[in-house]
Subunit: 296 residues, 2 copies
């Protein structure tokens, strides 16, 4: 049954361009940003996973932060390693996890079985825009080439476990996981995992195809006997797909004044719905705007 009154619980979707005196929403700010402020994500950084039934999940890879793990993922995708893989764990307010265990199939040639601890990297060498609000988990949180990152007193930076972050499942240290099994965050950001697991990317399309799966009833959300793990039909790098059918996405350039305004408005909502502006936000509550690349 549809509601008669559409309740205005945070309008995430811009309808018409804002009137002159209307206070801007974050969506309004993003809608004003011209094509020149959007950066196209390289096709070799897009992993396209199709679940049984045809629903699609697109993951942007983060080679700047986890180069060896990302190289592994590219090799596994192009070699067909994940044939027969499943989504086999869905834990509420935590993770959906998928892949194929190394006990079930030998890793393809060239895949590094025990990659280095790519849990952080030197801040030096990557761009960084501070978000300008306190972060209980780090020295300072902000953005780096479109990624949410945290920086630390020791001069390092890590990707953050925000909603949709994709990480590498692992056993106890020194194991880092090869990347044969991956997870994504489907709940409140478990930031205690930052600097403890390799984050290799983020879901940029179709996370609802993972987050709405039935929760596993076994320990830690693993699917119990009798619960059917969700088969993965295919995993491809976009760069291996025909140009006409491969997806393409862009993220808003986080070094622009428009992005800074977007973040500021996220922290200081003052449109008609709000009575009190928060005056701050955590890094995971300022998602980097991403859109399909417009057709020319």
């Amino acid at each position: 049954m549809r509601r008669l009154a559409l309740l205005a619980l945070l309008p995430l979707i811009a309808a018409a361009p804002p009137a002159e005196n209307k206070k801007l929403t974050p969506t309004d700010v993003v809608a004003q940003m011209g094509d020149e402020f959007w950066i196209t994500i390289p096709a070799e950084d897009l992993l396209v996973m199709t679940l049984e039934g045809g629903s699609r999940v697109v993951i942007q890879l983060a080679p700047e932060f986890a180069p060896v793990h990302v190289a592994n993922i590219r090799k596994m995708a192009t070699s067909g390693y994940w044939q027969g893989a499943t989504v086999y764990r869905v834990q509420d307010n935590y993770v959906a996890q998928w892949g194929l265990g190394e006990a079930e199939r030998a890793l393809p040639e060239g895949v590094v079985k025990l990659p280095p601890h790519e849990y952080w990297r030197p801040l030096k060498g990557v761009a960084f825009q501070a978000v300008g609000a306190s972060d209980p988990y780090s020295k300072q949180a902000g953005f780096s080439n479109g990624w949410p990152v945290a920086t630390y007193k020791d001069g390092t930076a890590s990707l953050t476990h925000c909603y949709g972050a994709v990480g590498v499942a692992r056993d106890l240290a020194p194991d880092t996981g090869s990347s044969s099994e991956l997870y994504t965050i489907i709940g409140h950001a478990p930031r205690q995992l930052d600097r403890n697991i390799a984050i290799v990317g983020r879901v940029i399309e179709g996370i609802e195809n993972l987050s709405s799966l039935p929760r596993g009833t076994d320990k830690m959300g693993f699917y119990a006997k009798g619960q059917a793990a969700r088969p993965i039909q295919s995993v491809h790098l976009a760069s291996s797909m025909p140009v006409e059918t491969r997806p393409s996405f862009q993220h808003l350039d986080d070094s622009t004044a428009g992005f800074a305004q977007y973040a500021k408005v996220r922290m200081n909502r003052d449109d008609d719905f709000y009575r009190v502006a928060a005056g701050g936000a955590d890094i995971c509550n300022i998602p980097v705007p991403i859109r399909p690349t417009p057709k020319k």
Copy 2:
């Protein structure tokens, strides 16, 4: 297909009691807390919602923070107001929303159609335990009688929009919503809503029955034509149910040393899985432990 190796991505479920020298997990700390440290939630503060098919969602109400809205909810539950109500909106990483519009059924006698703005209350008069980490949204975050709260420079305190928080859908101010339509948070905490909407409680059991529902494909996650809204079979106050069948829950007493240790361990994970302790956590990443009341 079950995994052969159980990947240890944060063991939320304690198996055996910890060995002498093992570093404690939050679950270990909670498991050590004797019955005397748990507070039973009054039956009149539990709202029991059963979805079609029999799956149950239990909500703890917060009369200390939103007394008029909570009184409305109790009256609507006991008068059968929600017969025919549905879950009609599920927006990924945001909210699941349900209820029955006031245009569809007149509010029961005694329900306040336009309650006051119970978005915050004076901090004076409620217990408060600071969490001891910075909060980008408030002066200080902490706990009050088992609730996650934020405090502000003006001497007020508000409940926080953490995962599972239940709030009252509303239109633009000065409307506060009668409570005929409610939502719960099913993603990263949208704390910008704090002090802008009445939070009336939190889901303490069965949130997965809402968070795993199909996402609505209409604007803002409303179910589109052709998507079947999920019928709600019944909504009862536990205090109106037979004593033998009503559910009962307890929360850990947040004024105890054991609770403080639990919060500290959440902020400083150092068990075998972790390489680096975060040294802090946001209020929504320290969920108040809740358990079914043990049978005598």
